[in-house]
Subunit: 310 residues, 2 copies
Protein backbone atom coordinates (compact mmCIF):
# COMPACT_ATOMS: atom_id res chain seq x y z
CA UNK A 1 0.00 0.00 0.00
CA UNK A 2 1.37 3.38 -1.02
CA UNK A 3 2.19 5.68 1.90
CA UNK A 4 -0.13 8.67 2.31
CA UNK A 5 2.62 10.85 3.76
CA UNK A 6 6.33 10.74 4.46
CA UNK A 7 7.66 12.08 7.76
CA UNK A 8 11.04 12.25 9.49
CA UNK A 9 12.11 10.41 12.63
CA UNK A 10 11.00 12.62 15.52
CA UNK A 11 8.27 14.47 13.61
CA UNK A 12 4.92 15.48 15.01
CA UNK A 13 1.97 14.50 12.82
CA UNK A 14 -1.62 15.74 12.88
CA UNK A 15 -4.27 13.43 11.50
CA UNK A 16 -7.96 13.64 10.74
CA UNK A 17 -9.45 10.30 11.71
CA UNK A 18 -12.89 9.13 10.55
CA UNK A 19 -15.16 7.25 12.92
CA UNK A 20 -15.47 3.49 12.49
CA UNK A 21 -18.40 3.49 10.05
CA UNK A 22 -16.69 5.69 7.45
CA UNK A 23 -19.41 8.32 7.65
CA UNK A 24 -22.32 5.90 7.35
CA UNK A 25 -23.43 6.89 10.86
CA UNK A 26 -23.76 10.61 11.42
CA UNK A 27 -24.73 12.97 14.19
CA UNK A 28 -28.37 12.92 13.08
CA UNK A 29 -28.55 9.23 12.17
CA UNK A 30 -31.41 6.93 13.08
CA UNK A 31 -31.77 3.16 13.19
CA UNK A 32 -32.10 2.97 9.40
CA UNK A 33 -28.43 3.81 9.08
CA UNK A 34 -27.57 0.77 11.22
CA UNK A 35 -29.96 -1.41 9.16
CA UNK A 36 -28.25 -0.31 5.98
CA UNK A 37 -24.70 -0.43 7.34
CA UNK A 38 -22.14 -1.79 4.90
CA UNK A 39 -19.86 -3.70 7.31
CA UNK A 40 -17.10 -3.93 4.67
CA UNK A 41 -16.51 -0.21 5.12
CA UNK A 42 -15.79 -0.55 8.87
CA UNK A 43 -12.55 0.98 10.14
CA UNK A 44 -11.36 3.40 7.51
CA UNK A 45 -7.74 4.11 8.49
CA UNK A 46 -5.70 7.28 8.22
CA UNK A 47 -2.29 6.52 6.78
CA UNK A 48 -0.09 4.77 6.16
CA UNK A 49 2.60 7.11 7.46
CA UNK A 50 6.08 6.36 6.14
CA UNK A 51 8.68 7.20 8.82
CA UNK A 52 12.11 7.77 7.31
CA UNK A 53 14.81 5.54 8.73
CA UNK A 54 12.48 2.86 10.11
CA UNK A 55 13.64 -0.60 9.03
CA UNK A 56 12.36 -4.10 9.82
CA UNK A 57 13.64 -5.07 13.29
CA UNK A 58 13.38 -1.52 14.61
CA UNK A 59 10.55 -0.30 16.81
CA UNK A 60 8.34 2.69 16.14
CA UNK A 61 7.65 4.74 19.25
CA UNK A 62 4.37 6.63 18.98
CA UNK A 63 3.52 9.21 21.59
CA UNK A 64 -0.13 10.34 21.69
CA UNK A 65 0.04 14.10 22.21
CA UNK A 66 -3.60 15.05 21.74
CA UNK A 67 -6.95 13.72 20.55
CA UNK A 68 -10.18 15.64 20.40
CA UNK A 69 -13.57 14.92 18.96
CA UNK A 70 -16.18 17.01 17.18
CA UNK A 71 -18.94 17.12 19.80
CA UNK A 72 -20.64 13.81 19.20
CA UNK A 73 -20.22 10.04 19.02
CA UNK A 74 -22.23 6.85 18.52
CA UNK A 75 -22.63 3.38 20.00
CA UNK A 76 -24.48 0.64 18.16
CA UNK A 77 -25.45 -2.98 18.35
CA UNK A 78 -24.95 -4.58 14.95
CA UNK A 79 -26.64 -8.01 14.74
CA UNK A 80 -24.08 -10.83 14.47
CA UNK A 81 -21.38 -8.73 16.12
CA UNK A 82 -20.63 -8.27 19.83
CA UNK A 83 -19.87 -10.41 22.88
CA UNK A 84 -23.43 -11.76 23.24
CA UNK A 85 -24.15 -12.31 19.54
CA UNK A 86 -23.94 -16.12 19.88
CA UNK A 87 -25.92 -16.32 23.14
CA UNK A 88 -29.52 -17.50 23.36
CA UNK A 89 -30.30 -17.08 27.06
CA UNK A 90 -30.30 -13.28 26.97
CA UNK A 91 -33.20 -10.87 27.38
CA UNK A 92 -35.24 -10.23 24.25
CA UNK A 93 -33.82 -7.57 22.03
CA UNK A 94 -30.25 -7.61 23.38
CA UNK A 95 -28.86 -8.63 20.00
CA UNK A 96 -31.19 -6.50 17.90
CA UNK A 97 -29.85 -3.54 16.01
CA UNK A 98 -29.74 -0.41 18.11
CA UNK A 99 -28.13 3.01 17.98
CA UNK A 100 -27.29 5.61 20.58
CA UNK A 101 -26.02 9.06 19.62
CA UNK A 102 -23.96 10.79 22.32
CA UNK A 103 -23.27 14.46 22.59
CA UNK A 104 -19.88 15.50 23.85
CA UNK A 105 -19.18 18.60 25.89
CA UNK A 106 -16.64 19.75 28.49
CA UNK A 107 -14.95 16.40 28.86
CA UNK A 108 -18.09 14.28 29.08
CA UNK A 109 -20.23 12.34 26.63
CA UNK A 110 -23.89 12.09 27.51
CA UNK A 111 -27.02 10.34 26.26
CA UNK A 112 -30.39 9.21 27.59
CA UNK A 113 -30.72 5.52 28.58
CA UNK A 114 -34.30 4.75 29.59
CA UNK A 115 -35.17 7.92 31.49
CA UNK A 116 -31.66 8.24 32.92
CA UNK A 117 -29.38 10.96 31.65
CA UNK A 118 -26.03 9.14 31.59
CA UNK A 119 -22.82 11.18 31.68
CA UNK A 120 -19.53 9.42 30.98
CA UNK A 121 -16.05 10.91 31.27
CA UNK A 122 -14.32 11.34 27.94
CA UNK A 123 -10.87 9.80 27.41
CA UNK A 124 -10.30 9.63 23.67
CA UNK A 125 -8.04 6.93 22.24
CA UNK A 126 -7.48 5.16 18.94
CA UNK A 127 -9.19 1.75 18.88
CA UNK A 128 -7.01 0.91 15.88
CA UNK A 129 -3.34 1.87 15.67
CA UNK A 130 -0.60 -0.21 14.13
CA UNK A 131 2.31 -0.57 11.77
CA UNK A 132 2.37 -2.34 8.40
CA UNK A 133 1.83 -6.10 8.44
CA UNK A 134 4.72 -8.56 8.08
CA UNK A 135 3.07 -10.15 5.02
CA UNK A 136 1.72 -8.51 1.87
CA UNK A 137 -1.98 -8.68 1.20
CA UNK A 138 -5.33 -7.16 2.05
CA UNK A 139 -6.21 -7.65 5.70
CA UNK A 140 -9.37 -7.13 7.74
CA UNK A 141 -9.01 -4.34 10.30
CA UNK A 142 -11.12 -6.24 12.84
CA UNK A 143 -8.65 -8.52 14.68
CA UNK A 144 -5.62 -7.15 16.56
CA UNK A 145 -2.34 -8.80 15.60
CA UNK A 146 1.42 -8.67 16.29
CA UNK A 147 1.53 -5.27 14.49
CA UNK A 148 -1.14 -3.81 16.78
CA UNK A 149 -4.30 -2.81 14.94
CA UNK A 150 -7.71 -3.07 16.57
CA UNK A 151 -6.39 -3.54 20.11
CA UNK A 152 -9.12 -1.43 21.78
CA UNK A 153 -7.03 -0.87 24.91
CA UNK A 154 -8.61 2.16 26.51
CA UNK A 155 -5.57 3.12 28.61
CA UNK A 156 -3.70 3.84 25.34
CA UNK A 157 -4.74 7.47 25.58
CA UNK A 158 -3.23 10.98 25.56
CA UNK A 159 0.34 10.94 27.01
CA UNK A 160 0.78 7.20 26.33
CA UNK A 161 3.88 5.99 24.52
CA UNK A 162 3.35 2.91 22.37
CA UNK A 163 6.15 0.81 20.86
CA UNK A 164 5.32 -1.14 17.72
CA UNK A 165 7.45 -3.73 15.95
CA UNK A 166 8.49 -2.51 12.49
CA UNK A 167 8.01 -5.15 9.77
CA UNK A 168 8.14 -2.89 6.67
CA UNK A 169 10.53 -0.19 5.51
CA UNK A 170 9.12 3.11 6.79
CA UNK A 171 7.03 1.35 9.48
CA UNK A 172 3.75 2.34 7.70
CA UNK A 173 1.75 3.49 10.71
CA UNK A 174 -2.05 3.77 10.37
CA UNK A 175 -4.66 5.06 12.81
CA UNK A 176 -8.45 4.68 12.95
CA UNK A 177 -11.55 3.80 14.96
CA UNK A 178 -11.11 6.55 17.53
CA UNK A 179 -13.24 6.29 20.69
CA UNK A 180 -14.33 9.00 23.13
CA UNK A 181 -15.02 6.42 25.86
CA UNK A 182 -14.99 2.64 26.33
CA UNK A 183 -15.15 0.08 29.14
CA UNK A 184 -12.53 -2.66 29.37
CA UNK A 185 -14.28 -5.33 27.31
CA UNK A 186 -16.19 -3.16 24.77
CA UNK A 187 -18.88 -5.78 25.14
CA UNK A 188 -21.53 -4.68 22.63
CA UNK A 189 -18.89 -4.41 19.89
CA UNK A 190 -18.70 -0.64 19.71
CA UNK A 191 -17.53 2.08 22.09
CA UNK A 192 -18.34 5.79 21.80
CA UNK A 193 -17.22 5.92 18.16
CA UNK A 194 -16.24 9.36 16.92
CA UNK A 195 -14.35 11.25 14.27
CA UNK A 196 -11.36 13.02 15.85
CA UNK A 197 -8.23 14.97 15.24
CA UNK A 198 -5.15 13.15 16.52
CA UNK A 199 -1.68 14.57 17.17
CA UNK A 200 1.18 12.08 17.40
CA UNK A 201 4.95 12.12 17.63
CA UNK A 202 6.83 9.29 15.96
CA UNK A 203 10.37 8.12 16.69
CA UNK A 204 12.44 5.22 15.45
CA UNK A 205 14.10 3.00 18.07
CA UNK A 206 16.80 1.01 16.29
CA UNK A 207 17.08 -2.78 16.54
CA UNK A 208 14.47 -3.13 19.22
CA UNK A 209 13.14 -6.48 17.96
CA UNK A 210 9.77 -6.41 19.65
CA UNK A 211 7.45 -9.38 19.20
CA UNK A 212 4.28 -7.32 19.63
CA UNK A 213 3.32 -3.83 20.84
CA UNK A 214 3.97 -2.70 24.41
CA UNK A 215 3.14 0.65 25.95
CA UNK A 216 3.57 3.05 28.84
CA UNK A 217 0.63 4.94 30.29
CA UNK A 218 -0.45 6.84 33.34
CA UNK A 219 -3.65 5.84 35.12
CA UNK A 220 -6.16 7.81 33.09
CA UNK A 221 -7.53 10.95 34.70
CA UNK A 222 -10.99 9.73 33.82
CA UNK A 223 -11.14 7.07 36.56
CA UNK A 224 -14.31 7.41 38.58
CA UNK A 225 -14.50 8.09 42.29
CA UNK A 226 -17.32 6.87 44.44
CA UNK A 227 -19.17 3.59 44.61
CA UNK A 228 -18.85 0.95 41.93
CA UNK A 229 -21.34 -1.91 41.67
CA UNK A 230 -19.76 -5.18 40.74
CA UNK A 231 -20.88 -8.48 39.26
CA UNK A 232 -18.65 -11.54 39.31
CA UNK A 233 -18.43 -14.63 37.13
CA UNK A 234 -16.87 -17.96 38.16
CA UNK A 235 -16.08 -20.57 35.53
CA UNK A 236 -13.31 -22.87 34.32
CA UNK A 237 -13.30 -20.69 31.17
CA UNK A 238 -12.58 -16.95 31.24
CA UNK A 239 -14.98 -16.38 28.35
CA UNK A 240 -17.87 -18.02 30.23
CA UNK A 241 -16.96 -16.18 33.45
CA UNK A 242 -17.09 -12.91 31.47
CA UNK A 243 -20.44 -13.87 29.91
CA UNK A 244 -21.84 -14.49 33.41
CA UNK A 245 -20.77 -10.97 34.47
CA UNK A 246 -22.27 -9.27 31.41
CA UNK A 247 -25.56 -11.19 31.58
CA UNK A 248 -26.01 -10.44 35.30
CA UNK A 249 -25.22 -6.76 34.75
CA UNK A 250 -27.72 -6.51 31.85
CA UNK A 251 -30.35 -8.29 33.91
CA UNK A 252 -29.91 -5.72 36.68
CA UNK A 253 -29.82 -2.62 34.44
CA UNK A 254 -32.87 -3.85 32.53
CA UNK A 255 -34.90 -2.65 35.53
CA UNK A 256 -34.14 0.87 34.31
CA UNK A 257 -33.81 0.67 30.52
CA UNK A 258 -34.23 -1.65 27.54
CA UNK A 259 -31.86 -4.64 27.67
CA UNK A 260 -30.16 -3.53 24.44
CA UNK A 261 -29.56 -0.09 25.97
CA UNK A 262 -28.01 -1.76 29.01
CA UNK A 263 -25.72 -3.72 26.66
CA UNK A 264 -24.56 -0.50 24.96
CA UNK A 265 -24.08 1.24 28.29
CA UNK A 266 -21.92 -1.59 29.66
CA UNK A 267 -19.80 -1.43 26.51
CA UNK A 268 -19.06 2.17 27.40
CA UNK A 269 -18.61 2.13 31.19
CA UNK A 270 -18.09 -1.37 32.64
CA UNK A 271 -14.52 -2.55 33.25
CA UNK A 272 -13.87 -6.31 33.07
CA UNK A 273 -10.93 -7.49 35.19
CA UNK A 274 -9.37 -10.94 35.46
CA UNK A 275 -9.43 -11.27 39.26
CA UNK A 276 -7.73 -14.66 39.45
CA UNK A 277 -6.63 -17.49 37.12
CA UNK A 278 -5.34 -19.91 39.77
CA UNK A 279 -8.19 -21.21 41.96
CA UNK A 280 -8.59 -24.53 40.18
CA UNK A 281 -10.94 -25.13 38.41
CA UNK A 282 -12.91 -21.84 38.60
CA UNK A 283 -11.46 -18.49 37.52
CA UNK A 284 -12.95 -15.14 38.58
CA UNK A 285 -13.84 -12.27 36.24
CA UNK A 286 -15.28 -9.07 37.77
CA UNK A 287 -17.15 -6.22 36.05
CA UNK A 288 -17.18 -2.78 37.70
CA UNK A 289 -19.84 -0.14 36.97
CA UNK A 290 -19.22 3.37 38.36
CA UNK A 291 -22.44 4.67 39.90
CA UNK A 292 -21.49 8.29 39.25
CA UNK A 293 -22.35 7.94 35.53
CA UNK A 294 -26.04 7.82 36.52
CA UNK A 295 -26.00 11.36 37.94
CA UNK A 296 -28.89 12.09 40.29
CA UNK A 297 -30.43 8.67 39.53
CA UNK A 298 -27.38 7.00 41.11
CA UNK A 299 -29.01 6.80 44.53
CA UNK A 300 -32.06 5.02 43.16
CA UNK A 301 -29.89 2.56 41.23
CA UNK A 302 -27.68 1.88 44.24
CA UNK A 303 -30.75 1.26 46.43
CA UNK A 304 -32.04 -1.18 43.87
CA UNK A 305 -28.69 -2.94 43.70
CA UNK A 306 -28.46 -3.29 47.45
CA UNK A 307 -32.05 -4.29 48.16
CA UNK A 308 -33.55 -5.67 45.00
CA UNK A 309 -35.58 -8.83 44.85
CA UNK A 310 -35.40 -10.84 41.67
Amino acid sequence: MKPAIYVKDGDTVELEVKEASDGQIRRNSDLNDVTNLDFSRIHPLTGPIFVEGAEPGDALKVEILDIHGEGWGWTAVIPGFGFLSKENDVPEGVNSQALKIWSSDEGYVSAKFGDIYVKVKEFPFPGVIGTGMRLNGVWSTIPPRENGGNMDVKQMTVSSRIYFPVFRKGALLSVGDTHLAQGDGEVCGSAVEAPTKVKLRVEVVKSRNLKSPVFVSKPREAEYDGDHITFMGFSNDLWNASLMVVKEAISFLSNFMEPVEAYMLLSTVMDLKVSQVVDVPNWTVSGFIPVSVFGNKGGEIMDAFEARER
Copy 2:
Protein backbone atom coordinates in the same frame (compact mmCIF):
# COMPACT_ATOMS: atom_id res chain seq x y z
CA MET B 1 -20.67 -28.05 60.19
CA LYS B 2 -21.38 -26.70 63.67
CA PRO B 3 -21.32 -22.88 63.90
CA ALA B 4 -18.37 -21.41 65.79
CA ILE B 5 -20.38 -18.43 67.00
CA TYR B 6 -23.92 -17.11 66.92
CA VAL B 7 -24.52 -13.41 66.21
CA LYS B 8 -27.54 -11.18 65.70
CA ASP B 9 -28.64 -9.46 62.52
CA GLY B 10 -26.73 -6.14 62.46
CA ASP B 11 -23.90 -7.28 64.76
CA THR B 12 -20.25 -6.33 64.35
CA VAL B 13 -17.87 -9.30 64.52
CA GLU B 14 -14.12 -9.34 65.09
CA LEU B 15 -12.24 -12.34 63.72
CA GLU B 16 -8.70 -13.64 63.91
CA VAL B 17 -7.89 -15.06 60.49
CA LYS B 18 -4.96 -17.42 59.85
CA GLU B 19 -2.89 -17.05 56.69
CA ALA B 20 -3.49 -19.55 53.89
CA SER B 21 -0.93 -22.17 54.98
CA ASP B 22 -2.40 -22.64 58.48
CA GLY B 23 0.85 -21.64 60.17
CA GLN B 24 3.09 -23.88 58.05
CA ILE B 25 4.79 -20.76 56.66
CA ARG B 26 6.00 -18.31 59.29
CA ARG B 27 7.76 -14.99 59.42
CA ASN B 28 11.17 -16.73 59.63
CA SER B 29 10.41 -19.56 57.18
CA ASP B 30 12.78 -20.74 54.46
CA LEU B 31 12.30 -22.84 51.35
CA ASN B 32 12.13 -26.05 53.40
CA ASP B 33 8.73 -25.01 54.67
CA VAL B 34 7.48 -24.79 51.08
CA THR B 35 9.03 -28.18 50.27
CA ASN B 36 7.27 -29.76 53.22
CA LEU B 37 3.97 -27.94 52.73
CA ASP B 38 0.91 -30.07 53.35
CA PHE B 39 -1.45 -28.68 50.69
CA SER B 40 -4.46 -30.32 52.35
CA ARG B 41 -4.17 -27.76 55.14
CA ILE B 42 -4.51 -24.78 52.75
CA HIS B 43 -7.17 -22.18 53.60
CA PRO B 44 -8.07 -22.68 57.24
CA LEU B 45 -11.29 -20.69 57.64
CA THR B 46 -12.59 -18.68 60.57
CA GLY B 47 -16.21 -19.48 61.20
CA PRO B 48 -18.83 -20.46 60.40
CA ILE B 49 -20.76 -17.54 61.83
CA PHE B 50 -24.45 -18.25 62.39
CA VAL B 51 -26.47 -15.05 61.81
CA GLU B 52 -29.83 -15.18 63.54
CA GLY B 53 -32.79 -14.69 61.23
CA ALA B 54 -30.97 -15.59 57.99
CA GLU B 55 -32.98 -18.11 55.98
CA PRO B 56 -32.45 -19.70 52.58
CA GLY B 57 -33.51 -17.17 49.93
CA ASP B 58 -32.30 -14.19 51.95
CA ALA B 59 -29.02 -12.39 51.31
CA LEU B 60 -26.29 -11.77 53.86
CA LYS B 61 -24.81 -8.29 53.60
CA VAL B 62 -21.24 -8.18 54.88
CA GLU B 63 -19.54 -4.84 55.34
CA ILE B 64 -15.75 -4.96 55.75
CA LEU B 65 -15.02 -2.42 58.50
CA ASP B 66 -11.33 -3.08 59.09
CA ILE B 67 -8.52 -5.52 58.33
CA HIS B 68 -4.99 -5.30 59.59
CA GLY B 69 -2.02 -7.61 59.46
CA GLU B 70 0.77 -8.46 61.89
CA GLY B 71 3.76 -6.93 60.15
CA TRP B 72 4.60 -9.62 57.62
CA GLY B 73 3.32 -11.74 54.75
CA TRP B 74 4.49 -14.37 52.27
CA THR B 75 4.28 -15.20 48.56
CA ALA B 76 5.26 -18.62 47.25
CA VAL B 77 5.41 -20.71 44.12
CA ILE B 78 4.15 -24.20 44.89
CA PRO B 79 4.99 -26.63 42.05
CA GLY B 80 1.88 -27.86 40.25
CA PHE B 81 -0.10 -24.77 41.27
CA GLY B 82 -0.27 -21.38 39.55
CA PHE B 83 -1.16 -19.93 36.14
CA LEU B 84 2.04 -21.19 34.44
CA SER B 85 2.17 -24.62 36.09
CA LYS B 86 1.17 -26.43 32.86
CA GLU B 87 3.41 -24.36 30.56
CA ASN B 88 6.65 -25.65 29.06
CA ASP B 89 7.92 -22.62 27.14
CA VAL B 90 8.76 -20.60 30.25
CA PRO B 91 12.17 -19.57 31.59
CA GLU B 92 13.92 -22.19 33.70
CA GLY B 93 12.89 -22.17 37.31
CA VAL B 94 9.58 -20.30 36.89
CA ASN B 95 7.61 -23.25 38.22
CA SER B 96 10.11 -24.30 40.90
CA GLN B 97 9.26 -23.86 44.53
CA ALA B 98 10.10 -20.42 45.83
CA LEU B 99 9.30 -18.28 48.84
CA LYS B 100 9.37 -14.55 49.49
CA ILE B 101 8.79 -13.13 52.96
CA TRP B 102 7.51 -9.54 52.98
CA SER B 103 7.68 -7.13 55.85
CA SER B 104 4.78 -4.77 56.34
CA ASP B 105 5.03 -1.26 57.71
CA GLU B 106 3.13 2.02 57.38
CA GLY B 107 0.78 0.85 54.68
CA TYR B 108 3.38 -0.87 52.50
CA VAL B 109 4.72 -4.39 52.13
CA SER B 110 8.32 -4.65 51.00
CA ALA B 111 10.80 -7.31 49.95
CA LYS B 112 13.97 -7.65 47.88
CA PHE B 113 13.57 -8.96 44.31
CA GLY B 114 16.99 -9.37 42.68
CA ASP B 115 18.76 -6.29 44.02
CA ILE B 116 15.59 -4.17 43.83
CA TYR B 117 13.85 -3.19 47.03
CA VAL B 118 10.20 -3.48 45.98
CA LYS B 119 7.57 -1.58 47.95
CA VAL B 120 3.91 -2.35 47.34
CA LYS B 121 0.91 -0.53 48.74
CA GLU B 122 -1.06 -2.57 51.24
CA PHE B 123 -4.80 -3.06 50.70
CA PRO B 124 -5.83 -6.03 52.84
CA PHE B 125 -8.77 -8.16 51.79
CA PRO B 126 -10.11 -11.68 52.36
CA GLY B 127 -9.20 -14.02 49.49
CA VAL B 128 -11.87 -16.39 50.80
CA ILE B 129 -15.23 -15.20 52.13
CA GLY B 130 -18.51 -16.98 51.68
CA THR B 131 -21.69 -18.41 53.10
CA GLY B 132 -22.52 -22.07 53.69
CA MET B 133 -22.86 -24.24 50.57
CA ARG B 134 -26.23 -25.24 49.16
CA LEU B 135 -25.37 -28.95 49.49
CA ASN B 136 -24.05 -30.86 52.48
CA GLY B 137 -20.59 -32.35 52.31
CA VAL B 138 -16.90 -31.58 52.65
CA TRP B 139 -15.73 -29.11 50.03
CA SER B 140 -12.33 -27.90 48.88
CA THR B 141 -11.75 -24.21 49.66
CA ILE B 142 -9.84 -23.70 46.38
CA PRO B 143 -12.55 -22.93 43.76
CA PRO B 144 -14.94 -19.99 44.11
CA ARG B 145 -18.59 -20.94 43.72
CA GLU B 146 -22.13 -19.48 43.87
CA ASN B 147 -21.69 -19.02 47.64
CA GLY B 148 -18.49 -16.98 47.18
CA GLY B 149 -15.42 -18.60 48.70
CA ASN B 150 -11.99 -18.20 47.13
CA MET B 151 -12.97 -15.33 44.82
CA ASP B 152 -9.67 -13.43 45.23
CA VAL B 153 -11.20 -10.14 44.08
CA LYS B 154 -8.80 -7.53 45.39
CA GLN B 155 -11.28 -4.64 45.28
CA MET B 156 -13.32 -6.44 47.98
CA THR B 157 -11.48 -4.45 50.64
CA VAL B 158 -12.15 -2.19 53.64
CA SER B 159 -15.45 -0.27 53.17
CA SER B 160 -16.79 -2.78 50.61
CA ARG B 161 -20.26 -4.20 51.06
CA ILE B 162 -20.70 -7.75 49.80
CA TYR B 163 -24.06 -9.49 49.31
CA PHE B 164 -24.05 -13.29 49.50
CA PRO B 165 -26.91 -15.66 48.72
CA VAL B 166 -28.02 -17.54 51.83
CA PHE B 167 -28.46 -21.27 51.26
CA ARG B 168 -28.45 -22.46 54.90
CA LYS B 169 -30.29 -21.38 58.01
CA GLY B 170 -28.06 -18.84 59.76
CA ALA B 171 -26.10 -18.11 56.53
CA LEU B 172 -22.92 -19.73 58.00
CA LEU B 173 -20.37 -17.14 56.91
CA SER B 174 -16.68 -18.10 56.91
CA VAL B 175 -13.57 -16.01 56.22
CA GLY B 176 -9.96 -16.97 55.40
CA ASP B 177 -6.94 -16.54 53.15
CA THR B 178 -6.44 -12.84 53.90
CA HIS B 179 -4.06 -10.94 51.58
CA LEU B 180 -2.12 -7.73 52.19
CA ALA B 181 -1.72 -7.13 48.43
CA GLN B 182 -2.54 -8.83 45.12
CA GLY B 183 -2.62 -8.05 41.42
CA ASP B 184 -5.77 -8.78 39.39
CA GLY B 185 -4.90 -12.32 38.26
CA GLU B 186 -2.86 -13.56 41.26
CA VAL B 187 -0.80 -15.35 38.64
CA CYS B 188 1.73 -17.33 40.69
CA GLY B 189 -1.07 -18.78 42.82
CA SER B 190 -0.45 -16.79 45.98
CA ALA B 191 -0.70 -13.11 46.89
CA VAL B 192 0.88 -11.48 49.94
CA GLU B 193 -0.60 -14.06 52.31
CA ALA B 194 -0.91 -12.91 55.90
CA PRO B 195 -2.63 -13.56 59.21
CA THR B 196 -4.95 -10.67 60.03
CA LYS B 197 -7.62 -9.37 62.33
CA VAL B 198 -10.86 -8.66 60.45
CA LYS B 199 -13.82 -6.59 61.61
CA LEU B 200 -17.12 -7.14 59.80
CA ARG B 201 -20.72 -6.10 60.15
CA VAL B 202 -23.39 -8.58 59.07
CA GLU B 203 -26.98 -7.86 58.13
CA VAL B 204 -29.80 -10.00 56.76
CA VAL B 205 -31.59 -8.77 53.62
CA LYS B 206 -34.85 -10.69 53.40
CA SER B 207 -35.98 -12.55 50.23
CA ARG B 208 -33.20 -11.17 48.06
CA ASN B 209 -32.79 -14.35 45.97
CA LEU B 210 -29.31 -13.67 44.64
CA LYS B 211 -27.77 -16.19 42.26
CA SER B 212 -24.20 -15.43 43.29
CA PRO B 213 -22.36 -12.72 45.28
CA VAL B 214 -22.31 -9.08 44.17
CA PHE B 215 -20.59 -6.18 45.85
CA VAL B 216 -20.13 -2.44 46.14
CA SER B 217 -16.70 -0.88 46.46
CA LYS B 218 -14.87 2.38 46.08
CA PRO B 219 -11.79 2.52 43.85
CA ARG B 220 -9.16 1.44 46.34
CA GLU B 221 -6.96 4.16 47.77
CA ALA B 222 -3.98 2.02 46.91
CA GLU B 223 -4.12 2.69 43.14
CA TYR B 224 -0.74 3.76 41.85
CA ASP B 225 0.03 7.06 40.19
CA GLY B 226 2.73 7.48 37.63
CA ASP B 227 3.81 5.38 34.68
CA HIS B 228 2.61 1.85 34.18
CA ILE B 229 4.33 -0.51 31.75
CA THR B 230 1.97 -2.72 29.86
CA PHE B 231 2.15 -5.98 27.95
CA MET B 232 -0.69 -7.14 25.72
CA GLY B 233 -1.82 -10.55 24.55
CA PHE B 234 -3.97 -11.23 21.46
CA SER B 235 -5.64 -14.61 21.00
CA ASN B 236 -8.96 -16.23 20.20
CA ASP B 237 -8.85 -17.52 23.78
CA LEU B 238 -8.70 -15.24 26.83
CA TRP B 239 -6.58 -17.78 28.71
CA ASN B 240 -3.94 -17.83 25.96
CA ALA B 241 -4.02 -14.04 25.65
CA SER B 242 -3.41 -13.83 29.40
CA LEU B 243 -0.55 -16.36 29.16
CA MET B 244 1.07 -14.21 26.46
CA VAL B 245 0.95 -11.18 28.78
CA VAL B 246 2.42 -13.01 31.77
CA LYS B 247 5.18 -14.68 29.74
CA GLU B 248 6.22 -11.39 28.11
CA ALA B 249 6.22 -9.61 31.47
CA ILE B 250 8.36 -12.34 33.10
CA SER B 251 10.74 -12.27 30.15
CA PHE B 252 11.22 -8.52 30.64
CA LEU B 253 11.57 -8.57 34.45
CA SER B 254 14.03 -11.47 34.23
CA ASN B 255 16.61 -8.88 33.20
CA PHE B 256 16.52 -7.72 36.80
CA MET B 257 15.71 -10.79 38.91
CA GLU B 258 15.26 -14.57 38.76
CA PRO B 259 12.29 -15.58 36.57
CA VAL B 260 10.55 -17.17 39.54
CA GLU B 261 10.91 -13.91 41.49
CA ALA B 262 9.38 -12.05 38.52
CA TYR B 263 6.46 -14.51 38.60
CA MET B 264 5.86 -13.83 42.31
CA LEU B 265 6.17 -10.08 41.81
CA LEU B 266 3.60 -10.08 38.98
CA SER B 267 1.23 -12.04 41.21
CA THR B 268 1.43 -9.16 43.66
CA VAL B 269 1.43 -6.05 41.45
CA MET B 270 0.30 -6.71 37.85
CA ASP B 271 -3.36 -6.07 36.96
CA LEU B 272 -4.86 -8.17 34.14
CA LYS B 273 -7.72 -6.48 32.29
CA VAL B 274 -9.98 -7.81 29.53
CA SER B 275 -9.56 -4.96 27.02
CA GLN B 276 -11.95 -6.31 24.41
CA VAL B 277 -13.90 -9.49 23.63
CA VAL B 278 -15.40 -8.44 20.29
CA ASP B 279 -12.66 -8.04 17.64
CA VAL B 280 -13.23 -11.41 15.97
CA PRO B 281 -11.29 -13.67 16.27
CA ASN B 282 -8.64 -12.14 18.55
CA TRP B 283 -9.40 -10.82 22.04
CA THR B 284 -7.08 -8.44 23.92
CA VAL B 285 -5.84 -8.92 27.49
CA SER B 286 -3.56 -6.25 28.99
CA GLY B 287 -1.31 -6.47 32.06
CA PHE B 288 -0.33 -3.24 33.85
CA ILE B 289 2.75 -2.95 36.09
CA PRO B 290 3.09 0.26 38.18
CA VAL B 291 6.68 1.47 37.93
CA SER B 292 6.50 3.18 41.33
CA VAL B 293 6.82 -0.18 43.13
CA PHE B 294 10.47 -0.29 42.04
CA GLY B 295 11.39 2.83 44.04
CA ASN B 296 14.64 4.46 42.91
CA LYS B 297 15.27 1.61 40.44
CA GLY B 298 12.13 2.63 38.54
CA GLY B 299 14.06 4.90 36.18
CA GLU B 300 16.44 2.13 35.20
CA ILE B 301 13.58 -0.30 34.61
CA MET B 302 11.65 2.25 32.56
CA ASP B 303 14.73 2.96 30.43
CA ALA B 304 15.14 -0.74 29.81
CA PHE B 305 11.47 -1.08 28.89
CA GLU B 306 11.61 1.77 26.42
CA ALA B 307 14.94 0.96 24.79
CA ARG B 308 15.72 -2.67 25.39
CA GLU B 309 16.97 -5.02 22.73
CA ARG B 310 15.93 -8.63 23.05
